[in-house]
Symmetry: C2
Subunit: 441 residues, 2 copies
């Protein structure tokens, strides 16, 4: 075997993931070098503050505040600082200097991915990002390589551990959203400002990345329909449980037919959804993540594991490092981003799914018929209705209201939205309490 | 982009997988070619009988009985004939002629893998085998690449769909082994001669492949301890259910410490085992497969999906085809087998796990104490004992027997075997009804 010079590795950022990558790289240097066939030398870790506390100790002489010089002397640059700038600038600098780049930065990939992939292709460098979605779970590589000969139809992903923990607590502990968020914050699962998680922004970044990869099509972040869990109520979670569902924040990426043109397109969306209790995704508890995938030939597949955590995510980063380093040793330009599909990205109104709508209605004869007509007038077919009359309401009283839970067959978002608007405008519905999509049926 | 000549693809075998690969390759030729950046031309399918019925129609002019000529004119050879010979000879011929090779042949890999990998390395060709384990489930690539920077501690795999279907039916339908096997045969899940599945041979092949890959160490087939499900009784399955377990045929690959030398080693074994009902593997029903994996950094991961089936397995084969074809277009020698670890492969006696032992004992005072002493004398620590006296046995009768179900703490196989031998030799145990390992606790 040809002896190969040591490969120079630079890490940008020494937060929870960066510090663990540095630790594992130093501790397992010999084993990793054996797997690569060349020495792996950590040449430095760029940080903002040399004295900040870390989850793992990094030798003082490896720390530097001069990221640019570090990047220019490295063969492989691992970016774990997060945020858009200066991460974007640093990665562009690294790629342009010929270094391969590894990142776990989903926000950067979802917003500036195409720009970075283009630089990489021009200079013949590689951009790896297994850790950007699903933490330790191998999902990027299976999508890019293992399923490259298949046609992915749909992805249902639980890709944000914080919101899954919160929804799980609301389901199992009976917590309100606020109580569950407090618990998540206490345990370190939620950040001081939880907006990125709760608002579905983090999941939307991941949906854009997954959809782009699965459909060989650039899906920009602003084409991802996004709803967070901020309006999920304890009543919804309880109601779901009684009806045989669990509420999950899902990233849904799918192939669609444009209802107007009949052309094939793709869609990506993030929102709370009802998942049947028997579906494998319903069993994904706590901060775990899972990606459930339907492909034309492969059928249903699921990938499950720890979606976050410093050391878990470090596993995915080090897998990318071994891949990148092997490429240095054995040569070859590697794999470029595949966007030959370039299918149109359709808006949420084109999506077809099932819905569960909870209504407060005047409890008088003929109401159900009126409401059923409003659904069918808008082309939404009702599958099941469950009516419950509050005990305290005496029968026949003019003010009495009943609760209707309506499950629909598959209908477009546009038809459903028009139905809900009509329900709100009419005089038989006193309140539309909840509208949830049902996925995985 | 540089125009690349069409790549010439040959398929050996047109059984349930081969026919589907040919169909999908012909149907999706343009899409797959776009992903590769070069045309993919199916130049022929080698079969034994030109007129045999197939699950998908293959144009007559593509069929040939002359496998050797077909191989020598191909850039990529896909072997889906199964069996050892002539598959081994054909793959060696293909590799020696410089073709890349794709196979789903686990028996061949488990017995002649090292030989084929060596030829591939010498000539700079590649050997892909994603479809050999777990059918459509991407498991080879995640193990080889995604987890390349981590250290796999243990793999628990349900890697044989036939036996999982049979055990599942025994659990859910109350079938005997024979009844469940009959049902599996009727549904086409079991072959006319079910020995390879029932006897655990198929699972042992896969265990050898997974262990070799996960531990970077050649694990020969004859080092895999193998027990099939032929002796699993309905009573064991029922008893497991009452105790909160499911019986699964598991492939267990793990890092171990040699109890004699203290050195690190690895072990691979296949046997029926009790899996706690709350473990993700317990939910794997019917003919599905799943691989549950524990790695040092990544924590627990699970990969789940269809473990067999023509079209599902074809998905994995086509993923390998795209990988192989991309390598032709973009160059680079690809990845060679990593066996630098070369850890010793330890015998089953070195394995440490938990056990559940069911005994028929004479129902008289002091028996439990006697038995407990026999366990502790051999260094096996009892965790729990459950005793049930048959209703028909009047108390104090000399012939009355009781059933004892004993759960142990972790102990070596050697210690457990010695304990069971002592139990059989003594006069208080009338029968050792069942000894099962407990995994996933």
């Amino acid at each position: 075997m040809i002896e190969y010079r040591d490969l120079r590795i630079a890490i940008l950022g020494a937060g929870s993931v960066g510090a663990q990558v540095a630790r594992l790289l130093l501790e397992h240097r010999q084993e990793l070098s054996d797997r690569v066939g060349a020495g792996l030398q950590l040449v430095g870790v760029a940080v903002r503050d040399l004295d900040a506390p870390r989850t793992a100790e990094i030798p003082r002489e490896l720390l530097t505040t001069d990221a640019r010089s570090l990047i220019l002397g490295a063969d492989i640059v691992i970016e774990l600082m997060g945020g858009i700038e200066p991460a974007r600038e640093y990665l562009a600098l690294a790629l342009n200097s010929g270094a391969d780049v590894i990142t776990a930065n989903k926000a950067l990939l979802a917003t500036h991915g195409p720009e970075l992939f283009e630089i990489a292709e021009q200079v013949g460098a590689q951009l790896y990002y297994e850790a950007a979605v699903g933490g330790a779970i191998p999902i990027i590589r299976p999508l890019r390589d293992s399923l490259a000969g298949d046609r992915v139809r749909r992805i249902l992903g639980i890709v944000n551990g914080t919101t899954n923990y919160i929804l799980d607590r609301m389901d199992t502990e009976g917590d309100s959203l606020e109580e569950a968020l407090d618990a998540a914050t206490r345990l370190g699962y939620a950040e001081a400002d939880p907006t990125a998680d709760i608002g579905g922004f983090d999941a939307a970044h991941k949906a854009a990345i997954l959809a782009s990869l699965a459909f060989h099509t650039t899906v920009p972040l602003d084409a991802v329909h996004r709803e967070g869990i901020e309006h999920v109520t304890h009543a919804q979670v309880e109601g779901a449980k009684h009806a045989g569902y669990v509420v999950k924040l899902l990233a849904v990426c799918e192939r669609l037919t444009d209802p107007e043109t009949g052309a094939e397109g793709v869609s990506a969306r993030v929102h709370p959804a009802l998942v049947p209790i028997g579906h494998p995704l319903a069993a994904v508890r706590g901060v775990n993540n899972a990606v459930f995938l339907e492909a034309e030939a492969a059928g249903s597949l699921m990938f499950y594991g720890a979606g976050a955590g410093g050391v878990e995510t470090a596993s995915a980063v080090l897998g990318d490092l071994v891949s990148a380093a092997r490429r240095h040793v054995i040569g070859g330009p590697g794999i470029t981003e595949s966007t030959h599909g370039e299918l149109p990205v359709l808006p949420i109104t084109s999506v077809v799914t099932r819905y569960q709508i909870t209504l407060q209605v005047a409890d008088r004869p003929g109401v159900l018929a009126t409401i059923a007509t409003m659904f069918s007038d808008h082309g939404v077919s009702v599958e099941a209705v469950q009516q419950s009359v509050p005990e305290q309401a005496a029968e026949g009283e003019p003010d009495a209201t009943a609760t209707l839970v309506i499950g629909t067959h598959r209908a477009t978002e546009a038809a459903l939205a028009a139905t809900v608007m009509a329900l709100r405008a009419g005089d038989v519905v006193t309140e539309v309490t909840s509208v949830l999509r049902v996925e995985g049926l």
